[in-house]
Structure formats: structure tokens, C-alpha cells
Symmetry: C2
Subunit: 258 residues, 2 copies
């Protein structure tokens, strides 16, 4: 019986694990999800060079609208399939539905985990993982609707003294890559609407640009200063710290600007 392997690649090409590489090399057909995330150097041609065989790009509609028939067709032809994904296959992506469909169809499934922004961003910050409350994503207003869900998450976490990891909207198909500058503006805009005294220009946050990439940049400071900084290209991430332990204070000092 053929197998379907969900293969997490991590954030950049050198994040690939020995297990991922072995699985890709043992697959008959390799698909690459090209729509849920971006990487400085993972793409169809770099992966093809690394693995030494053809890599077929998949877009969102190939998975969602067409019920992933491209994948299941290969399996029904008896071929072992690797579905490669930037990051981890089931952290912050929509691939769980595909996993369940494969299980429903009695396909043998393998899962190879990969490095993900969720722990990479936190790790180097020096903030303690058990002090993070739930995370949220900041998205642009759409059709006149302003989404302030993230405001409630930050508020709820701060009330408990917890840190908040904020991911920023990233939609590769539609070429949307939110910068930290835009996210900070939306944070102040949310405060302007809600007026609950949660976010202010004097609030100190950590901006993380390209976590895990060779050009990564961590900058800590007041929103008023950060909003004018140039962090370079996305992806960007923000951490709103809660109550800080003294080691966490020390860790953040490394990244402090005026």
C-alpha cells in the first residue's frame, strides 16, 4: 500500500531534518505547498536540487477546492507521495483536514515534523515558553471590517501577566505580507476604537523580523519608536511581553533601541 508523508521542512533549507530528507528521497512523487508560508530559500528548484528529483508545486486551490485530488490520484496509482510544507505540517496550516481525509481513505500516513515560527520566535527571545498565553494573528481590515480579535487576546494575557505571540497576516496567493510597522499601526488603531487602556505608544514590544533566517533581526522598544523602524522584508512577528522575570528582562535588553 502506498503512503502519504506530510513533511515539515522548517523555515529555511538548512532546517530540513535528516528524517525529512530521507522521506523525500524515498517518495515517488513530491509536492510542495507553495501558499501557506514563505522562506528565504525553500522553493521548487532549491528543493529539487537538494533531493535530486522532481518537485511539483501545489497552490491553495489544489488542496482545498479540488479536494487534493492531485495527491490522491498519485496514491491511487500506487505511488508513495511526500507533501512538503514550509514550517510544520499541522501548526498554523489547514492540512489537518487533508490528514483526516487520508485516514478516512485508509491511506498509510507518515508525519515528519519541522521547525515552526511558534517556537523559533520564542526561543531566541529568551522569554519563558510557559509564560505565553494564547497567540493571535493580526489581519488587515477587509470590506470595511476591522478585526480586533487580537486586542482581546493581548488584554486577556496581560491580565494574567502572560506574553502574547502575534503573527501577522501572510497570504502568499494574494501577495499579502504584513510588516510589523503596519501591525503596530493596527494595534494603536484597535486601542483608538476600544479605549480600554491596553495598548499605548509607550508600550514596549519585541519585533522579530525573519525569525530563524540568516538575516533575522530582533528589536525591542516602545511602539512609538518601532513604528518608524525599517525591519527589512517580511515575515515579521511581534511579541507583547507580560510580567517579566529578571532573566527575561536581561534577555530583552540585548534587543533594546532608545
Amino acid at each position: 500500500m502506498p503512503w502519504l508523508a506530510f513533511v515539515g521542512l522548517g523555515l529555511k533549507l538548512k532546517d530540513i531534518t535528516l528524517e525529512a530528507l530521507e522521506t523525500l528521497r524515498n517518495a515517488n512523487t513530491i509536492f510542495l505547498d507553495t501558499y501557506t508560508s514563505i522562506s528565504p530559500d525553500i522553493n521548487v528548484s532549491s528543493l529539487r536540487r537538494l533531493v535530486g528529483k522532481e518537485v511539483i508545486p501545489l497552490r491553495r486551490r489544489d488542496i482545498e477546492d479540488e479536494n487534493a485530488e492531485k495527491i490522491f490520484n498519485e496514491l491511487s496509482r500506487g505511488r508513495n507521495v511526500a507533501f512538503a510544507v514550509i514550517g510544520d505540517p499541522f501548526i498554523a496550516t489547514t492540512h489537518v483536514a487533508l490528514l483526516l481525509e487520508a485516514i478516512r481513505r485508509n491511506v498509510e500516513v507518515k508525519v515528519i515534523h519541522g521547525l515552526t515560527i511558534y517556537t523559533v520566535a520564542i526561543s531566541y527571545s529568551g522569554l519563558m515558553v510557559y509564560k505565553f498565553g494564547r497567540c493571535a494573528t493580526i489581519v488587515y481590515p477587509k470590506e470595511g471590517i476591522f478585526y480586533d480579535y487580537f486586542y482581546d487576546v493581548v488584554k486577556e494575557n496581560l491580565k494574567l501577566g502572560l506574553h502574547t505571540l502575534l503573527l501577522l497576516e501572510l497570504d502568499v496567493d494574494n501577495n499579502v505580507f504584513m510588516t510589523a510597522n503596519d501591525a503596530l499601526k493596527l494595534m494603536l488603531e484597535a486601542e483608538g476604537k476600544r479605549k480600554e487602556g491596553i495598548i499605548s505608544k509607550d508600550m514596549k514590544v519585541l519585533v522579530i523580523a525573519r525569525a530563524g533566517f540568516p538575516t533575522q533581526k530582533y528589536v525591542y522598544g516602545k511602539i512609538a519608536s518601532l513604528i518608524r523602524e525599517n525591519f527589512g522584508p517580511p515575515p515579521h512577528t511581534i511579541i507583547v511581553p507580560g510580567k517579566l522575570h529578571y532573566i527575561e528582562e536581561d534577555a530583552l535588553k540585548r534587543f533594546l533601541i532608545n
Copy 2:
């Protein structure tokens, strides 16, 4: 100037990334942290075989009590040092203090991230990462003191409909590896003391044994049933689900026992 690389190895030998392997091979001296975590197959001899050079084990006291002089002595002799760690170097370990000390001493620092239980356990569960509240660790009573901190974390998360990742005490130096069975008993014991109606025998939780290992096992069911199950050797982890989305319900059904 010599460098100090913090190298995350992931949970098992095949989780090693290309970057970690390259960094270990470029180091003059390789230390392995042998005390913060356990792995089915990462140890001094397997790492030595993989990398092709000597690997020196470090115990907790080498890092904490002796101010990591073994590491800084090598650096002062002009040698590039890799400090290898199971998992990720700064997620759930005490290595942030060492990182800050290296920065204080103007040592060039590199950080190579590794797979960690925090996202591996969540990923395959199919539960949504943005619905996890803060996590906690269940520890054994010590000198007559019962630690029920985890009870408050579960309570607080459930109130918000959030899931809770519970790590179980693991102290390699003292040979303590808590099983899920013991953890479930401590959860019921905490309820017996607190009587706030948070945890009960009928509560359904997910037990994860050896997440990310080839022998991993995910089992979902009522505490009353799980408490009698044999999950095999540690490490074990528990997830207490909050309010479930229907895709999360479907994902958990895979692991259901009566």
C-alpha cells in the same frame, strides 16, 4: 574570535537539521547536555558516530554550579564550541542564563533551533495551536508539599475555552520520569484538595507517549480509563482540550478508546 553555538538536536537522532549537523562538524569541541531531556537514541556515542568526532557529556552541575567553566575554558583556548541540547536550546531549559553570560563575555554566539515537544505534541494532535493557553508542568509532591499550580492553569484555560499542554516532571540527574498514569492521579488528587469542579474522572484528555519518537502513542479518553492504560516508557505528555472545533473533534476521534 571563537564562537559558541547552541545547537538544538530535536527529539531523536533523525530530527537533526542540516544546519545543526554542519555546525557540529565545524566545531572544535562538542559538548552534549545530558540532563535536561531524554531521547530514544541521542546520546554521546550515537552523536559521536553521526558527527565523526568526540562528544563530551555535560551534567547539570557543569553548567549551573560551576558557571559553565568547562565551556568558557575551551573558548578561551580559541576553540569553537558547540553546546548540543536535546530539543531546542531555549525552550523549557535553563540555557538562557548561559547565553546571556556568553554575550556578557563578548563571545560570538550562534543559535541553531531544534524540534521541541511544545509543537511536536500539538502538531499531530490536530488541535489548533492558537487555541492553546499557557502550558504547565505537573511535578511530584516534595517534602510534603503538593504543587497544584497546574490546576490553576487548566482552570484558567478552560474558562476561556482553551486547550492546555501539560508536561510531566522529568529530572534525568535524579532518575525521575513521571508517567501519564501518575500525572492523572495527581490531577484527581488536586481536584480532591481544591474541589472547584475543574477535573473529574469523566473528563476526556489526550495522553501522548513519546511524541515524535518512532514508537509514539496518542490515546484520547476519560481519565478513569486512561489511568489504567499502559502507555509504555516516558516521556509522556497530556493535553486537556478546551472547547473543540468540529475538525478538532474529528482529529481526536482517531485516538479514542472506550
